[in-house]
């Protein structure tokens, strides 16, 4: 193959794989938004909190699976605490108020994680190799690692499960009802508290999975929070209410930022990656504010 075309594909695939990681964070966000119409700004902080706790428990000497179990338990606790102390007092409030409360929550989680576990960068070894698979590299010249493949697979499975839960099960129906209106859902007997605890715990577990994959790649450190911010443009492009949209948008964001960096970046001294996704999101907002797959936003007086 022509080396330039090959190089393009290499960049593209690198971007797509990075995009899968963004999708994983965005997924937890969509989960909460679809089920409670809360913009959970704290999802990135939850990723950081979850994986830092996981690594912390491992350092305390717990074996892998026990640490995983304890962290899952911890995330469920976080979900319950969030429902009790943040969401319950704010039922039926304006969604901007809830958004700001989750910004507060994000800071609490980030601060707590650093208070308890310290600020140094940690390595996370999942036992999955993050080196190019030589067989694929030899055959096609494209470098893909096992970790990339696992991340893609995990994302696909989670998206499939969530899509089915939302569209096919009774629980999913209840969640969508809550999203439409807290008061209305309560009045027809949907237990709002359990629904919220369930959703936030699920989002916490999604955050843990995303954090583990990211931590294995980039190390467990505070910079994860900044990376997680990139889930926001993913959401806007995919639409806040669409689970499959998140995956597609994640791939678009990942691929376009890498391609922009490699092909346009050199003319400006690089660093385009830092803002390209946000600009792309702004463009989308101008022409298609509901995102690729989102429900059309209708506002009435």
């Amino acid at each position: 193959m022509n080396p330039e075309i090959l190089f393009f594909f290499e960049v593209l695939i690198g971007g797509l794989l990075a995009g899968v990681m963004y999708s994983l964070v965005a997924l937890g966000f969509v989960l909460i938004y679809k089920a409670s119409s809360v913009f959970n700004f704290a999802q990135g902080a939850m990723v950081f909190f979850a994986v830092l706790s996981f690594v912390g428990f491992m350092e305390l000497g717990l074996p892998f699976f026990l640490a995983l179990l304890v962290t899952v338990g911890l995330m469920i606790l976080v979900g319950m605490a969030t429902e009790r102390f943040v969401l319950r007092p704010l039922v039926n409030q304006h969604e901007d108020t809830l958004l700001m409360a989750t910004i507060g929550l994000a800071f609490v989680l980030e601060g707590l994680a650093q208070l308890v576990w310290g600020v140094e960068v940690r390595r996370l070894d999942l036992g999955i190799r993050d080196e190019p698979i030589m067989r694929i590299a030899d055959a096609t010249g494209i470098f893909v690692s096992v970790l990339d493949l696992v991340a893609g697979l995990v994302a696909a499975v989670m998206v499939a499960v969530l899509a089915i839960v939302f569209s096919r099960t009774k629980v999913g129906l209840g969640l969508r009802a809550v999203a439409d209106g807290h008061g209305a859902a309560m009045s027809i007997g949907i237990p709002l508290r359990q629904v919220w605890v369930f959703v936030w715990a699920a989002a916490g577990i999604v955050a843990l999975v995303a954090g583990m994959l990211w931590g294995a790649r980039a190390g467990v450190q505070f910079a994860l929070v900044g990376l997680a911010l990139k889930a926001l443009p993913v959401l806007i492009i995919g639409g806040f209410t669409s689970v499959p949209g998140v995956i597609v948008a994640g791939l678009i964001v990942g691929a376009s930022e890498k391609i922009a960096e490699v092909y346009i970046g050199p003319y400006f001294g690089g660093g385009i990656e830092g803002w390209a996704p946000y600009m792309l999101a702004v463009l989308f907002l101008m022409f298609r504010p509901e995102g690729l797959f989102g429900e059309r936003i209708i506002r009435r007086v």
Binding site: M100, A101, E110, R299, V301
Partner: protein, 355 residues
């Protein structure tokens, strides 16, 4: 008590339109201004002036800008630091490239430049709101800082990364001591606060609030959303730009893109949330609170352990405290410290009675 509304009769339109109808308020304000202008510059130590009062005033201006956009016009923004950077670098370049440029004119122009940029980045607000808009303003935050960082012209091709801000020169006199700089900042802050208070209670402010409360309804009633929203963005960015320029010139004394990162934007957001959404005076409370909390934490730990604690611990603790406070304020008093102060005043008015 000292605070009485009784006996305040308004006998003309001019009195009715006063910014402060209560005589007690006017006396209090006069006292504060006298202390700020005539007492503090001569009595406060250089540390207090340059490490606390100057950044407090600068950040109050920025918080005011954020408050106009968020508290009055209801447009959530996470880009305050970007506009601060725009103002700071505009001021640096104006003074650098135009020799005769007096400092007040440079400040005014850099505010206007920031306002122009704000209008461009405010365009998405015409179509989206809430978190959608926050993401769009994040774009402005990252993009502005990146542009300034990558195009050498803005930094005058300085490679060291630390650009010393020029001296403040007004009519041939250099304002270099902390007290002199404090007076410059104070004058600008007082003027802009006065302007903001009048805008907020005038037709501009009422239009913003109408858009905040329900933009569709406001449009149906004949308000131009385009004009109102972009006006809010422009004025907000103007305040952020002026605040940013003063922040860089009088507090940091250097102009560097790295100082205006996303964390600063979050701090500004917190100042508004804790100080009080939709109150001009709350910007001062919020800015003071956010700036002073680390100082108090340090003093507290000194008293508790007898020595300074690791900086990473205090900064993490700070984050937790900010976060908890924001959640508490959102739940119990969404209008922040300003409302708490107001409640206290009302209490004082009827003290010692309950009703």
């Amino acid at each position: 008590m000292y605070y009485r509304q009784a006996g305040t009769y308004r006998t003309g339109y001019a009195q009715d339109m006063r910014l402060m109808p209560l005589k007690e308020d006017r006396i209090l304000l006069g006292l504060v201004l006298v202390i700020a202008f005539a007492v503090l510059p001569f009595t406060a130590s250089d540390y207090w002036l340059s490490a606390i009062l100057i950044p407090w005033l600068c950040m109050s201006l920025v918080a005011m800008g954020q408050n106009i956009l968020m508290g009055y016009a209801g447009q959530l923004s996470l880009g305050a630091a970007g506009f601060m950077a725009a103002g700071a670098f505009a001021c640096y370049n104006l003074i650098l490239r135009v020799e005769w440029m007096p400092f007040p004119v440079a400040i005014l122009l850099s505010g206007l430049i920031a306002a122009a940029i704000g209008i461009v980045f405010g365009l998405p607000s015409l179509r989206v709101r809430g978190l959608y808009l926050a993401v769009a303003t994040l774009a402005s935050q990252f993009f502005i800082v990146w542009v300034i960082d990558k195009f050498g012209w803005f930094k005058n091709y300085d490679t060291s990364g630390i650009i010393t801000a020029q001296d403040i020169v007004i009519f041939g006199k250099a304002f270099t001591s902390p007290a002199e700089m404090y007076l410059v900042v104070l004058t600008i802050t007082v003027l802009l606060t006065w302007a903001a208070m009048n805008m907020a209670r005038g037709s501009a402010g009422r239009n913003w609030q109408a858009v905040r409360d329900m933009d569709v309804a406001a449009e149906v009633m004949g308000l131009s959303l385009l004009r109102t929203k972009l006006q809010a963005f422009a004025i907000s960015s103007f305040y952020c730009g002026v605040g940013g320029a003063l922040f860089a010139f009088t507090y940091l004394k250097s102009v560097e893109p790295a100082a205006f990162d996303i964390n600063l934007s979050f701090r500004v957001l917190f100042m508004v949330l804790i100080g009080g959404l939709g109150t001009i005076i709350g910007s001062f409370y919020g800015a003071g609170f956010i700036l002073l909390l680390p100082v108090f934490l340090n003093i507290f730990f000194h008293a508790l352990f007898g020595k300074a604690v690791d900086a990473s611990i205090t900064s993490a603790l700070e984050q937790v405290i900010f976060g908890v406070l924001i959640i508490l304020f959102m739940i119990y008093e969404p209008l922040g410290l300003a409302k708490l102060w107001q409640n206290l005043q009302e209490r004082m008015r009827r003290w010692p009675f309950k009703f």
